[in-house]
């Protein structure tokens, strides 16, 4: 009995769309699921607000609740000025949330379980913070490395740690989302594999005993549902906190 918990992360090439140098560019199942996520979000948001009613229906309620949720998160962490970045944060939140939720469906592909996808999103945030911070504050932006009220003799050490932590932020931002999704999906597949292992090795008794891992798999799926939403929220709120550094350095 051979169980492959990481088979689900295979990238399959669907068709070729171009060539750059020696490297062929393919449309993969990953790209297909990204398009699916964008289609679902567009349908939800555009369909939700198309008939703007005073008393919202179901779709309009969902659209309004997600808007309010992200808007209040930005206002409380990055202040009113942070609302400039609402489109960015909202897109990130919805994209990650929908791709995570789609990934829970059995046989579906989880886009955010690939480090290249999360790294691209985290680097986008990192460079926006860096460029906007320098554009808005000029050289004052570097005050984020020098916290106020620190005694002079420990200042070099503190600055060193602050600089290091600034450049490690995109790394932890990337790895948190990627590893959470990867580990969750591997755990699901491993526990689901226990059912088949019991049944194949012990026969009828094994299939009855398999109820225990089956129940655990159902419970883990519920946990994954929570994690899928929570990680999207965490990604969004960390984006807001990093943007807050760019908008108000020296706090």
């Amino acid at each position: 009995m051979n169980i492959e918990p990481i088979h689900q992360f295979n990238i399959e090439k669907l068709f070729k769309i171009g060539q750059i140098g020696d490297q062929a560019i393919y449309f993969t199942n990953s790209s297909a699921y990204m398009f699916l996520a964008v289609a679902v979000i567009s349908l939800l948001m555009i369909g939700g607000v198309a008939r703007g009613q005073l008393v919202p229906g179901r779709f309009q309620s969902v659209a309004e609740i997600t808007y309010e949720f992200v808007a209040s998160t930005i206002r409380s962490t990055a202040g009113a000025e942070g609302m400039k970045f609402f489109p960015l944060v909202f897109s990130l939140f919805m994209f990650i949330c929908v791709t995570n939720l789609v990934g829970i469906i059995p046989y579906a592909f989880t886009v955010s379980s690939h480090i290249i996808v999360t790294a691209a999103l985290a680097l986008l945030v990192f460079f926006i913070v860096l460029i906007y911070g320098l554009y808005k504050n000029g050289l004052k932006f570097f005050k984020i490395f020098v916290p106020s009220g620190v005694p002079v003799f420990v200042l070099p050490l503190v600055v060193f740690i602050e600089v290091l932590s600034f450049f490690l932020k995109p790394v932890s931002h990337t790895v948190r989302l990627f590893a959470n999704m990867l580990a969750g999906h591997i755990a699901l597949k491993v526990f689901a594999g226990f059912i088949a292992m019991l049944g194949v090795s012990l026969g009828a008794i094994g299939w009855i005993g398999g109820i225990a891992p089956l129940a655990l798999t159902v419970a883990l799926t519920a946990l994954e549902l929570l994690v899928a939403f929570l990680q999207a929220y965490v990604f969004a709120i960390l984006t807001c906190i990093y943007l807050n550094d760019a908008i108000h350095p020296g706090h």
Binding site: R176, A179, L182, A183, Y233, I237
Partner: protein
């Protein structure tokens, strides 16, 4: 020692690190709950801080899990 065996043992040792993250997440949620019970009206405003602390703490546990997964599947 067999390299394959060393890999599996290494993966097991790497998972010990998750215990520390477990303690940390417990401290964060425990203290949040204790504070929220004392002053429920202030609890809502600190929810963002709670999630931020949880995320930062949890990342460390995830890093050690990642090392274990790399040892098992990638290296």
């Amino acid at each position: 020692m067999e390299p394959a065996a060393a890999k599996l043992i290494g993966a097991g040792i790497a998972c010990i690190g998750m215990g520390g993250a477990g303690v940390g997440v417990g401290v964060i949620f425990g203290n949040y709950l204790a504070a929220a019970v004392r002053n429920p009206s202030a609890a809502q405003g600190q929810f963002g801080n709670l999630i931020f602390g949880f995320a930062v703490t949890e990342a460390l546990g995830i890093f050690s899990l990642l090392i274990a997964l790399l040892l098992l599947f990638a290296l």
